[in-house]
């Protein structure tokens, strides 16, 4: 594929350690993606970010992007028939605390298409920023209890022994299902990160 690039791309730089007051404001909608009117099954996604020595990363930022309960993205390029939910944009942003913890309250997304013939298993796109990350990192949350994972075309690109790093595990039953998803930047159990 040949891409003609008229202007040169702007490079990436680390977010550094001081982004908090600018990017992680006391706006709860960044953690909580739902209102009482949002359609879909409530879930909480939580986890911790660790560095290559297993030390929690206390100065990371985790962003998520996902489809709504019907599998529709709130985006002009998703013009399919699945309904939009006016109570759901699908964007979340969390800092990490001193123990590396991040969390979101959202809904389980519906399946989205891969190509004209196949669909993808429900998943949440994740972007990670931190001091020491000269570029951000992309990964995905899949749900360990989801049968459609078996036929997911993206999971199939991941070596089988590493797929588990993308599976959030159901850890609690309550009014809100809790899914645990840890992000290991480096070393044993290193999370799969994507390039696209």
């Amino acid at each position: 594929m040949t891409t003609v690039r008229t202007p040169g791309l702007t490079s990436s730089q680390t977010a550094g350690p001081f982004f908090g007051p600018a990017l992680v404001r006391d706006d709860m909608l960044q953690h909580v993606l739902v209102t009482s009117e949002t359609q879909g099954q409530r879930i909480r996604v939580e986890g911790r970010v660790y560095d290559g020595e297993g030390v929690p990363v206390a100065d990371a930022m985790v962003e998520i992007w996902q489809a709504n309960a019907f599998g529709r993205y709130h985006h002009p390029d998703d013009d399919r028939d699945a309904p939009l939910d006016p109570e759901f944009t699908g964007f979340g942003r969390s800092g990490t605390d001193t123990e590396g913890r991040f969390w979101f309250e959202t809904i389980r997304p519906g399946p989205v298409p891969f190509d004209h013939a196949r669909s993808q298993a429900p998943h949440i796109s994740v972007t990670i920023f931190a001091r020491g990350l000269l570029n951000h990192l992309f990964t995905r949350v899949y749900f360990a209890d989801e049968p459609a994972n078996e036929n997911d075309p993206i999971l199939h690109q991941v070596p089988p022994e590493r797929r588990g790093t993308l599976l959030a595990t159901h850890s609690d039953d309550g009014p809100t299902a809790v899914y645990r998803f840890d992000i290991i930047l480096q070393g044993p159990g290193e999370t799969v990160f994507f390039n696209y």
Binding site: L9, T14, A15, V57, L133, Q186
Partner: protein, 246 residues
């Protein structure tokens, strides 16, 4: 089997983006992934992104783009007033309209308003060092601030960060997400800064603003121009990807 050595793991175009591991910048050593990134085809999950929806719901006032006054104290920040403006473009040179920019910076003394920044540069009660604005229909953004100072950091002996402003942009898709830093022209610290020198040499000048006298306002503020070019959009998100099949 793709083999990639750690120092060569990069995101996207390796002529543009820094490697994850750049040992001179010590914080990369335990945070850079050790395994190659896995290249995946673009799907709707990547060709969409939060930019349009989040930019639309974010409440922005004119104050947000005036860092000299937005501390809300009624007082003005100390320092050389600067206007920073430019265009946000996609990689085909088209403007990216109505997209959110978030910026943050140290004050004129090189101090951030952050509990973890404890070097003895003075805080300025009239300066938060945070701002945001939307691009207009031509992709143009503009904000007013004060010239940030350089500051020491513990990366290596006598390490100083050159003066810079952090930028965060969404653009139209997941691919276009960018966090970067803008530097000022003629700063002798550039060549000594491992965060900047981690960027391939040919792409470094694009992180340095140009002084633009036509932006400078008489009796008021110096003008700098900083254009930003984001990745994307991709041409064909739904192309079959059989060659990658398992």
């Amino acid at each position: 089997m793709v083999t990639t050595t750690i120092g060569e793991i990069v995101l996207g175009d390796r002529e543009v983006f820094p490697p994850y591991l750049y040992a001179e910048y010590r914080s990369t050593i335990l945070r850079a992934p050790g395994l190659p990134l896995i290249s995946v085809p673009l799907t709707l999950s990547e060709t969409t992104g939060p930019g349009p929806a989040y930019s639309a719901v974010t409440t922005i006032s004119a104050d947000d783009a005036d860092l000299t006054m937005n501390a809300g104290t009624g007082g003005e920040a100390i320092g050389q007033r600067i206007i920073v403006t430019g265009r946000v473009l996609d990689e085909h040179g088209r403007p990216v309209p109505d997209t959110l920019l978030e910026v943050w910076q140290a004050n004129a003394a090189g101090r951030y308003l952050h509990k973890k920044d404890s070097w003895p540069g003075p805080l300025d009660p009239n300066f938060l060092g945070i701002g945001r604005c939307l691009t207009n229909t031509d992709g143009v953004y503009r904000f007013l601030s004060v010239q940030p100072g350089a500051y020491p950091w513990g990366n290596h002996p006598n390490a100083w960060r050159p003066a810079h402003i952090h930028f965060s942009l969404f653009g139209q898709s997941q691919r276009s997400r960018l966090v970067t830093q803008m530097y000022f022209p003629g700063d002798p610290l550039h060549a000594l800064d491992p965060i900047l020198t981690a960027v391939p040499e040919a792409a470094r000048p694009r992180l340095i603003a140009t002084y633009d006298h036509s932006v400078t306002e008489p009796e008021w503020a110096l003008g700098y121009r900083f254009d930003i070019v984001l990745r994307g959009p991709a041409a064909t998100p739904f192309e079959p990807q059989r060659e990658h099949g398992s």
